[in-house]
Symmetry: C2
Subunit: 335 residues, 2 copies
């Protein structure tokens, strides 16, 4: 997708953690708003993803036809496109960049959507991984705005194991003394490499590696596949990677002023029709976890994806999984 990101400025934003700063939200638009202003779909980015990485959702044969929907892709804070440790001037540069929550992201995205599109409702919010967690956050934060949401390989609250996974991969980065608490001139390369390998062991299933399924995506051997993964992660700044991980780690629909720590209340407040699609071999977002969440939702379908790609299945890497997602999402959007 060749569309360039556009930028929306938010001056004097006060984060959930109480820091006030100027922010830039980078976003991409595909398709056009219709006259009824009721065809807007928000498609937030995933961990380490950029707006263009969401291309697999969009197309006349994909889940989201830009001839039918106006699709806006907001970039996560800390992804290097929206405001991030790496691109923010002092006094909020690098390690001084504040912690951003999902609520911070969604609040700013909603401001942008209102200002740019002047809509009162959103047809759907759809996302994969951290994108799924933003979709959940939209639905809980704006129950009267969001009409449908899709959470692929994500959750409404970060599980204890998922936190440990994040601590493990981030710990590998921080083990490099060159990281220096986030105050570095040169990238902490050794730590970034350790981070990438550690992450890669989790983001696909065991059988993806053990049964050489990386060959199906064009890598002749595991070293080539891992080199690609390293290149992807290492195209990001270290503090940016840690910033996105901190957003993820703190994910909890209950943890907003609106719900005051009451997770069940937040889940119960969601009015949107939900489509929850875990992958059955995902190593950190588990079907069992989603099952319990769906039980708290008023109107949601659990539709697990059968794939041996693990978490990556939700990222469009498995054609069969993607076809299943396309069918399910189209049906939801038409409902």
């Amino acid at each position: 997708m060749t569309t360039q990101d556009q930028r929306f400025a938010i001056e004097g934003y006060r984060t959930q953690g109480g820091v006030t700063l100027d922010l830039q939200l980078a976003y991409q638009v595909h398709g056009e708003l219709n006259d009824a202003r009721d065809n807007l779909v928000v498609l937030p980015t995933y961990y380490s993803g950029r707006s263009s990485d969401n291309a697999y959702w969009i197309g006349s044969d994909q889940a989201l036809d830009p001839a039918k929907y106006c699709i806006v892709i907001p970039n996560l804070f800390c992804n290097g496109a929206s405001s991030s440790p790496s691109n923010t001037p002092p006094p909020f540069a690098a390690s001084a960049f504040p912690h951003m929550t999902y609520l911070d992201n969604v609040s700013c995205q909603w401001r942008m959507v209102q200002a740019v599109f002047e809509v009162e409702t959103v047809h759907a919010v759809i996302g994969f991984s951290m994108g799924a967690m933003q979709a959940y956050q939209w639905a809980a934060h704006l129950p009267d705005v969001v009409q449908r949401f899709v959470a692929v390989c994500g959750s409404a609250r970060t599980s204890e194991h998922n936190k440990l996974f994040l601590d493990a991969v981030c710990g590998a980065l921080r083990a490099d003394a060159a990281w220096n608490g986030g105050d570095y001139d040169e990238p902490p390369t050794r730590g970034l490499e350790a981070f990438s390998v550690s992450y890669a062991a989790w983001f696909a299933s065991q059988q993806f590696y053990s049964e050489h399924m990386y060959r199906a995506v064009g890598a002749p051997d595991v070293a080539t596949f891992l080199a690609g993964a390293k290149m992807g992660f290492m195209s990001h700044d270290a503090n940016d990677l840690l910033g996105m991980a901190a957003t993820w780690r703190a994910g909890d629909l209950g943890a907003s002023p609106q719900y005051d720590g009451d997770f069940e209340k937040a889940m119960g407040a969601i009015k949107a029709r939900g489509l929850i699609m875990p992958c059955d071999t995902d190593l950190y977002f588990r079907v069992r976890h989603n099952e319990r969440e769906v039980a708290l939702l008023a109107d949601a379908e659990l539709a697990p994806i059968r794939s041996d790609f693990g978490h990556l299945a939700g990222g469009g890497m498995d054609p069969e999984a993607l076809a299943f997602m396309t069918t399910k999402v189209r049906a939801l959007l038409a409902s």
Copy 2:
């Protein structure tokens, strides 16, 4: 168990990799050899385990009654008790300690068993994790000696994903510049901590953490549980941890001169009756992997353990899993 380790010296051992050095094999004995000399059970140690950590197998109510069996527990090379980077004098100290394979371990264990016990057969070789892989190696290396073997949460060959898991946890250690290629005066503490957290995310199942099952083993919260895991790993020298991981990573029954790279031939050569017990939530030794291995064995039973403890289930942490293991192993030993 209060029994002290005994030591067996092997002078001028030539490793599979072609390095000649003097080695010490530390081992523990429980029970006595009977007059027929047919009640010897070998019980090798697991990754980061020491002989005393195998206590959960031994007792009148456990799988191995010392009133009935003579149980010998050899310590893995690199575990800090047998010859290891940390306890070997120059020129083989620290990073100069040679790579030890499972075949090296088993060859030395067999020399010790012959010298100390003067047996021609071994009633059974039993192990968990790297202990399971040694049991497999005994059965393939000495088909006419080993009569039964039990592999709990282990495999005959290290899977591609398992290798990546090892690269991930070891990479976290090596990301600490204080590790310095193995040439350090002070322990690379930051790397060892990152290693421990990364390992802990894998060695129990997702639900063990997310459903707070660590409470069942006496840890009130995840931080306390992780502190225990860190203490265990960090009681080992960094080079020792990497040395054991290298043994594990190279695990492959086919990779011995006897079988010349032919894994199927090695598996087909095993005469011992096998009992293969993966845990259904183990994140690195997978049931599916064992299923394929069992199909190559002449006489083996696959008996998966149902537990939410993940890999740790095979380490005796889950009482129900341990009871199941006890029943199955006793039946095999009596057959």
